[in-house]
Amino acid sequence: MTTPSPAADELLVPVPDEDGAPFWEYAARGELRVQACASCGRLRFPPRPCCPHCQSFDSEWRPMSGRGRIWSYVRPHPPLLPAYAAQAPYNVILVELADAPHIRLAGNLVTSADAPLDSVDPARLRIGARVQVVFTRTGGVTVPRWVPEKS
């Protein structure tokens, strides 16, 4: 851990596993998709090899509306990894997807797709607030971010 990393001053990028890779591939196209069972149709997250309800190994990736509500949030303060400490305190939110409320994606509420993690006034953070997905590229990878939903 004392080995210097070339990316020590950058935000972490997702390291997908085999099950998760499609999520990030769709994200790179600006699509928010969640794994669903191709047999019984139930959505599941995180992605996994087979359906916990019907044990089918057939799956598909279903498009989501990209809308959701804040289920909870934290505001991390140091000690943190350097790139995060530089923006602290920032927010991390859990978004309940409108299409699947039991699936809650971790993310950040920002003023616009490419804005920093601390760009939203903390007074605007509220459980239940409606948010909308946007996408940004960081460290060569496309990740979802969330902005307040325009009414």
């Binding site: 997702p14 289920w71 949030y73």
Partner: protein, 383 residues
């Protein structure tokens, strides 16, 4: 009649090293010192050990410990995963091994230099694949962030406040102030200190987080029959349980119908089913406290109150000496030492021997729990 672990084994020896932010000894040496202290306490020779149990996160393995302390032929060894969730299962696995005749003298231990050593969350190389890909890039980096998320939701749903979390921190600190071995022995806490302390992961402040400790502990388990011939008053292992609920996700239990009812509920159902007594009969409890919100969640999970009532339960000095349920009487992970919850096991034994620095009068039953929010374990002890 099926075999049962109920009162079939007992803890007959406990040992520990000093607790400090930095100790000069290696983790291996600390492990050996704690184990030898526990054996000396039990009056059992190292050559009699034939079973070991620890955590998968323990860096010193059985081979190193056994050859250093001079153990004999070992016929049972196990390691339990999920960090602090494994603490009570070390005792549970040994109780099962001894009760079923696979071994006769078991040693459980945990040695950790978390005070002066590295913070695990800084090692992003091992943290980033599943499920880290869903959380780490967004800055949900540390256990405090992951549990803070559940804490905020809990506060929102049930009207819990920072004062409730303070009640937990204060109870643990008060007990530590009575325990000369505790890291916070001479460090009183006030409400003003708590409310004005720096945030770590808002809503959790510094005092909602456990200590960073170098130290080691161990205990010795034998059959109830043999325990009656040992030097110390036996502390019987009355019931043991592990808990991995359906569709549980570990520290980031965000993707099921009910993230706020965690592994404690699962472990508790089995624990009480096997026991001759219930939550209302528990004299003192040692509840895993890596973070203060784990206490209200565990109070609910283990049935001391209803769903959503854990925060209110802490009011009126309920967790203090003389309260409804004195907890963490050595100071716990928040104020004695954070050694992945093993100090809670040994403190439970001290209570039932009647030798705690914050002794609950005539304590005869004690619940000890392991980490909540991860696959967990729990034991009921009785004298």
């Amino acid at each position: 009649m099926a075999a049962t672990l109920k009162d079939a084994t007992a803890i007959v020896g406990i040992g520990q090293t000093a607790f400090a932010k930095r100790l000069p000894e290696s983790e291996k040496e600390l492990a050996c010192r704690a184990i030898l202290a526990a054996l000396a306490d039990a009056g059992i020779a190292p050559s009699e050990i034939d079973a070991f149990s620890s955590y998968t996160m323990e860096e010193t393995d059985e081979v190193e410990v056994a050859k250093a302390i001079g153990a004999g032929d070992v016929t049972f060894f196990s390691k339990i995963g999920y960090g602090g969730g494994g603490s009570c299962a070390t005792v549970g696995h040994l109780a099962a091994a001894v009760a079923t005749g696979q071994a006769s003298v078991g040693v459980a231990w945990r040695s950790r230099k978390r005070g002066s050593g590295p913070r695990p969350w800084k090692n992003t190389a091992v943290q980033l694949p599943t499920p880290g890909q869903w959380t780490r890039p967004f800055g949900l980096l540390r256990p405090a962030d992951e549990i803070g998320m559940l804490a905020r939701r809990y506060m929102h749903e049930y009207g819990a406040t920072r004062d409730h979390l303070f009640n937990v921190a204060m109870a643990c600190r008060n007990r530590a102030n009575e325990n000369p071995a505790a890291m916070m022995y001479e460090r009183p806490l006030t409400r003003e200190m708590y409310m004005t302390s720096r945030m770590i992961s808002d809503p959790l402040c510094l005092f909602d987080n456990c200590l960073e400790t170098d130290g080691a502990l161990a205990c010795v388990i034998v059959s109830a029959e043999r325990a009656r011939d040992c030097r110390r008053k036996p502390v019987y292992v009355h019931s043991v349980a592990q808990g991995l609920p359906a569709q549980h996700h570990g520290m980031v239990n965000y993707w099921n119908d009910d993230p706020l009812s965690g592994p404690a509920w699962t472990a508790a159902r089995h624990l009480w089913k096997q026991a001759d007594f219930g939550p209302q009969d528990v004299d003192v409890a040692q509840i895993y406290d890596a973070f203060t919100p784990l206490i209200p969640l565990s109070l609910e999970g283990y049935g001391f109150c209803g769903r959503g009532e854990g925060a209110a339960f802490t009011e009126g000095g309920a967790l203090e000496m003389g309260g409804r349920l004195p907890i963490n009487t050595g100071g716990g992970g928040l104020s004695e030492a954070y050694v992945h919850g093993f100090n809670l096991i040994n403190e439970g034994v001290k209570q039932l021997r009647g030798v705690s620095t914050a002794q609950v009068p005539d304590a005869a039953t004690c619940l000890v729990t392991a980490g909540e929010g991860v696959p967990t374990s729990a034991i009921l002890l009785r004298s």
